[in-house]
């Protein structure tokens, strides 16, 4: 059976323990197991050697003291915080008003949309009504025009009726 190796070369199953070994965090029993493994596994042995070397290389970085915050640092931080909080307090009412306006505008837009939709839905019925009324008007307008002869007869009848004869 072949052990799985990481790209660095060590057996994947041993990497965690190898790192712990480099850090000196293993109990003596586990450390002995690692040592036994590295004696028989050349790849883990080489990887462990590299890891130990890296500790040495990086120790050079500790030669210089780490930078520290200046004496006025905390004061500057607190001043910056106060200034930011003042800005927030100044803008907060405007922000709230802005949001309120935004909600109002949304509500107005919604009402307008509902109204428009209702008008559009009611539109075709209104057209039908208008058409019906129009046809009634047309019927009234299209009363047959009386011919002159017929007009004379009508006048005669009317005059007889008015004279009682």
């Amino acid at each position: 059976m072949f052990a799985k190796h990481s790209r660095a070369g060590a057996c994947s199953a041993w990497e965690v323990r190898l790192e712990d070994y480099v850090e000196g965090r293993l109990a003596s029993q586990q450390a002995a197991e690692v040592e036994m493994h590295t004696r028989v596994c050349a790849r883990c042995n080489a990887a462990l050697d590299q890891a130990k070397t890296s500790v040495g290389i990086l120790t050079a970085l500790n030669a210089r003291p780490l930078p520290k915050a200046g004496p006025l640092f905390a004061g500057r931080v607190m001043a910056a915080i106060r200034s930011e909080r003042r800005d927030q307090e100044l803008w907060k009412p405007l922000e709230i008003a802005g949001w309120q306006l935004c909600w109002l505008a949304c509500a107005a837009a919604l009402i307008l949309a509902v109204f428009t939709a209702r008008v559009q839905l009611a539109g075709p019925r209104a057209t039908v009504n208008t058409t019906a009324q129009q046809s009634q008007v047309e019927e009234l307008i299209n009363v047959p025009v009386l011919q002159p002869a017929m007009q004379d007869d009508a006048l005669l009848v009317a005059s007889r009726e008015s004279n009682g004869r």
Binding site: S54, G56, I57, A60, L61, L66, V77, I81
Partner: protein
């Protein structure tokens, strides 16, 4: 009362709006935050500004801090994130240190490098520059882990919490990062060696 309990007390008071309590927290953690920022930003001079941003950001997010982790871990996590964001915004290229080491100087790292107590200040500077150069060549995540572990001295669990990773993942990545760093170092060493002609 223990330091942790004191710190919790300070955090609670700061959460309740007591400015003086927060200022005390700043004073306690300011040097560490500046040191982390300075290392991760590779001494770009923005470390104090970033540290200031970190404390301001933490102040305004303090109510959301639920004390599940230590305040210090939380603030260091914000520091790492702020540094990464800063580098991303600046699209910073890693600084390249031209440390032209002699073969003997480079070899001093090998095997006996662990001691690294160079007496000669010039030598110390060169070793420092080489280590910086090597770190600048590795992946940013690997570099951050190596910095936090080897320079800042954080534990694996702290690094895992800061980077939101599993502790075993941190160990594996650290172990591989160490390998990559040494490979780079050896490659550099082989480049700096003059070609030797073997005479029969």
């Amino acid at each position: 009362m223990s330091d942790a309990a004191d710190e919790q007390q300070l955090v609670r008071r700061a959460q309740a709006g007591e400015e003086a309590a927060y200022e005390t927290l700043v004073r306690v953690h300011q040097h560490r935050v500046v040191a982390i920022a300075s290392r991760l930003l590779r001494g770009s001079g923005d470390a104090e500004d970033i540290a200031q941003q970190v404390f301001a950001k933490a102040y305004f997010s303090l109510r959301r801090f639920d004390m599940r982790s230590k305040f210090s871990t939380w603030i260091y996590k914000i520091t790492v994130n702020e540094c990464w964001n800063h580098l991303r915004k600046k699209k910073a290229r890693p600084l390249v240190y031209e440390a032209d080491l002699t073969e003997e100087q480079s070899e001093r790292f090998e095997g006996e490098a662990q001691r690294s107590s160079a007496v000669d200040p010039e030598e110390s500077v060169r070793q420092h520059d080489l280590a910086e150069w090597l770190l600048s060549q590795v992946d940013p995540m690997d570099r951050t882990m190596l910095e936090l572990k080897e320079v800042q001295g954080f534990s694996i669990d702290e690094i895992a919490e800061m980077l939101e990773l599993n502790a075993n993942t941190v160990k594996v990545r650290l172990f591989r990062a160490r390998g990559k760093l040494v490979e780079l170092y050896r490659r550099r060493l082989s480049q700096s060696r003059p070609a030797t002609i073997k005479r029969g």
